[in-house]
């Protein structure tokens, strides 16, 4: 029983830690700066795509 803890608990902590790291990365790359704008921007065509058409 205790043996299974030895890998289950580290796994859960690593997964949680990955989530935390992802959040920090999002903050650092300004992804929370404009939540409303991001929602609207998915409706735009990519500018490169427009040029090639």
């Amino acid at each position: 029983m205790t043996n299974s803890y030895l890998f289950l608990i580290p796994i859960s902590l690593v997964l949680g830690g990955a989530g935390l790291a992802a959040f920090f990365w999002c903050l650092k790359t300004n992804q929370y700066e404009d939540l409303e704008g991001a929602a609207e921007r998915i409706l735009f065509d990519d500018p490169e795509k427009q040029d090639s058409l």
Partner: protein, 730 residues
């Protein structure tokens, strides 16, 4: 007012790679279409390397090359139909405070969730080895969270203690540290109970409240920065060789010649060198009538040039201008504002010693009866944990955040939560007149006494002029008809009036002496106002007044119904002030007041314990706004006034004063309910903790439920407010 493209370089920040970055506030963007329109148009302008709109903050960031030929961003935006304002280069700040709070919150959330997972297993009945292992792991997870996320509270508590005061963060910090230390000791010595889950969860809950508080202030800050600035960034300077250069306002030195066009704000104090014009002083001194200036007239910064171009000789640098003096007066007033202690901190000052005393008594009691220091300490710690003011610390900010959100949706911007508390305490209301009780714009008083044909001629002459008299005549006419006559040889004589030929007759609209100069036998009936003349003969006289805002009467009436004494402090002339006071039925009014006299009046009211609410808008009100117990400014105010006021009415309607007071009252009620609940919860929980019946499981359940109840209760503000609003509109 559109952006002067020459100001763009002055407002830009240089970047490392030689490019320049410009930040603009564009309040009009509201959808994806706006983003697309702005970004695609701007990025096609030469030299622009990138343009990015932030829809949440309604800001536009443009990067461009080549500072010698800045792109015509202002003109492009105007063509698209967007109003934009430049921010000064120093103003661009990143929201680092909110960001570091979010990081602290994320770490606390991570720790709380993982520890809670382990704790549930322990509560479910793990054997002693497993429990020991889980406690140890919890201790490891909790440590970084308590150090990293908890520092927000330790620093604030330390600051308070060092100044000999106390705030909510003191009992929080002591509770957190003792809980962790005691649990660690118990874990190492193989004890049954550890409170790591309680400590991290407490931290998580408290940080939620704190982060929301920061976000609220941040939003208020950026909304205020987005509004228009009073002083231009740059101005045209005429050099000795008669060439004109565009320089920054900071570079102005006494003696420099500055060229000012109609519609410009006066950047520094100075004397008119040549030219004539009319000047609008309403934001500067509260005078509602435009003032005529000519060679030799002295002017103060912040005034608006209305009709003609003129050349100003600067008499002071920007740092010595009237506006800079007002800002200094405002800062002094802010310092003299009687220190207000927030409700939660006042409560903490009573609460913290009580809790710590109870814990100490528990320790002494069990020490005396059992003689076991470990057992006594365990009990004392569980008393501390159960009373650690989680619900209490959330009780006030949750309500204030909900209230601020409701107010923001209603177009009322509140700078911080304590302004709501202070708004509940007001004992009197002091109003400014020009631009606050009145609209700040002149309107035609006797339009219905004037013949329609003469009105048509006056409106035809007035079309296109910036002068307030002309504009109010146009506005009056537009309500009746869209047609205007063709005016030949139309001209605006700055400082005098307008003239032109209609149907072969020469008409003049303007000052009496000028318009009727050919006919000397005319007697002047009114000193102010203007006349319409045909070939020098007066055919109509126009009277103007700075009319009351339509809602002023209702607001004044309602405030009086609340039993609040009202006062008007104005910089305007006696006749204007007394007329407004009579219309509103306010007996206590003062005219011709200088800014420092207003400040002194507020300080006297403060000293008498009246706790005045100041409502004002001008530069001359800024110091009074900063000194008052709480202050409100309409959005039409100057940037100085907005910086000084606690509450800004974005919709520019005084009715919102009543809305703000109503929401403040409702939030006060909820705060009291929340606090009573938190105290009641403690009263019930303390005896159990005192007698040693509290285990970590009960502590966790009790803490979460009390916090949830408090948060849910705060949310009720949404409903009660919505109901009231529909009732008002119905």
């Amino acid at each position: 007012m559109a952006i002067d493209d020459r100001d763009i370089v002055l407002a830009s920040n240089p970047l490392a790679d030689g490019q320049l970055r410009l930040e603009l506030s564009v309040p009009g963007v509201h959808c994806g279409g706006c983003i697309h329109k702005i970004e695609s148009t701007l990025s096609q302008i030469t030299n622009v390397t990138s343009a990015r709109v932030n829809l949440s903050t309604k800001r536009l960031t443009v990067q461009y090359q080549n500072r010698d030929a800045p792109p015509a961003i202002g003109a492009a935006l105007e063509k698209l139909g967007f109003d934009a304002h430049l921010s000064g280069p120093a103003e661009v700040k990143s929201n680092t405070a909110v960001r570091s709070m979010l990081k602290a919150l994320a770490v606390a959330a991570f720790a709380a969730m993982n520890i809670m997972m382990l704790s549930v297993a322990v509560w479910a009945g793990a054997d002693s080895d497993t429990r020991q292992l889980f406690h140890l792991i919890s201790a490891f997870i909790a440590f970084p969270a308590l150090v990293y996320s908890g520092r927000v509270f330790y620093l604030s508590a330390w600051k308070a203690v060092r100044h000999g005061t106390t705030n909510m963060d003191v009992p929080i910090s002591i509770g957190l540290i003792i809980t962790y230390a005691m649990s660690l000791y118990d874990t190492v010595t193989g004890g049954e109970h550890a409170y790591f889950d309680a400590a991290t969860m407490l931290l998580f809950f408290l940080l939620i409240g704190r982060t929301l508080d920061y976000m609220m202030r941040e939003r208020a800050h950026s909304a205020i920065n987005g509004l228009q600035k009073l002083i231009p960034l740059g101005v045209d300077h005429i050099r000795q060789d008669n060439t004109v250069v565009h320089i920054s306002t900071d570079q102005i030195e006494p003696g420099m010649l500055l060229q000012l066009a109609a519609g410009d704000r006066i950047p520094v104090n100075g004397i008119v060198e040549s030219g004539r014009s009319d000047i609008d002083l309403s934001l500067v001194s509260g005078e509602s009538e435009p003032v005529h200036v000519h060679r030799g007239s002295s002017l103060v910064s912040g005034a608006l040039n209305l009709t003609g171009p003129f050349i100003l000789r600067a008499s002071a640098p920007a740092s010595g201008s009237y506006l800079a003096d007002m800002i200094r007066l405002m800062e002094r007033a802010e310092q003299s504002r009687s220190g207000y202690t927030r409700l939660a901190d006042r409560f903490a000052a009573l609460y913290a010693p009580l809790v710590h005393l109870t814990a100490l008594i528990a320790f002494g009691f069990w020490m005396f009866f059992t003689g076991d220091p470990h057992h006594a300490l365990t009990i004392a710690v569980s008393v501390l944990i159960i009373t650690c003011p989680c619900a209490l610390a959330l009780a006030v900010p949750m309500v204030q955040i909900t209230a601020a959100r409701r107010l923001f949706d209603a177009g009322i911007l509140i700078k911080d939560g304590s302004a709501l508390e202070r708004l509940n305490e007001i004992g009197s209301v002091i109003f400014d007149k020009t631009g606050t009780l009145t609209s700040g714009e002149l309107s035609l008083l006797n339009g219905n006494q004037i013949d329609e044909h003469e009105m048509l001629i006056a409106a035809s002459l007035a079309a296109g002029s910036r002068h307030p008299y002309a504009r109010s005549i146009s506005a009056y006419w537009r309500k009746q008809s869209d047609t205007v006559l063709q005016v030949q040889e139309a001209a605006e004589v700055a400082g005098s009036g307008l003239e032109g030929c209609i149907d072969g007759h020469r008409y003049r609209l303007g000052r009496n002496e000028w318009a009727s100069e050919c006919a000397t036998n005319q007697t002047t009936k009114s000193a102010r106002g203007s006349v319409l003349t045909r070939e020098g003969q007066i055919i109509a006289e126009f009277d103007f007044e700075d009319g009351l805002r339509p809602e002023s009467l209702e607001v004044v009436h309602e405030l009086r119904r609340h039993g609040l004494p009202l006062t008007i402090l104005s910089g305007d002339a006696k006749e204007n002030v007394s007329q407004v006071a009579a219309e509103l039925g306010v007996d206590d009014y003062h005219w011709g007041m200088l800014p420092d006299e207003k400040l002194r009046a507020i300080e006297t009211a403060n000293f008498d314990g009246q706790k005045p609410l100041m409502v004002g808008d001008g530069i001359n009100d800024a110091a009074a706004l900063a000194a008052a117990h709480v202050s409100i400014a309409p959005a039409s105010t100057t940037d100085v006034g907005r910086a000084a006021a606690d509450i800004v009415l974005l919709k520019n309607s005084l009715i919102d004063i009543l809305t703000a007071i109503r929401i403040a009252k409702a939030s006060k009620k909820l705060i009291h309910q929340n606090m009573s609940f938190a105290v009641l919860y403690n009263l019930i929980a303390i005896p159990f903790a005192f007698l040693g019946y509290i285990s970590p499981l009960y502590a966790a359940i009790a803490m979460s439920t009390s916090s949830i109840v408090v948060v849910m209760n705060a949310m009720r503000l949404n409903n009660s407010k919505a109901e009231k609003q529909t009732r008002v509109h119905a």
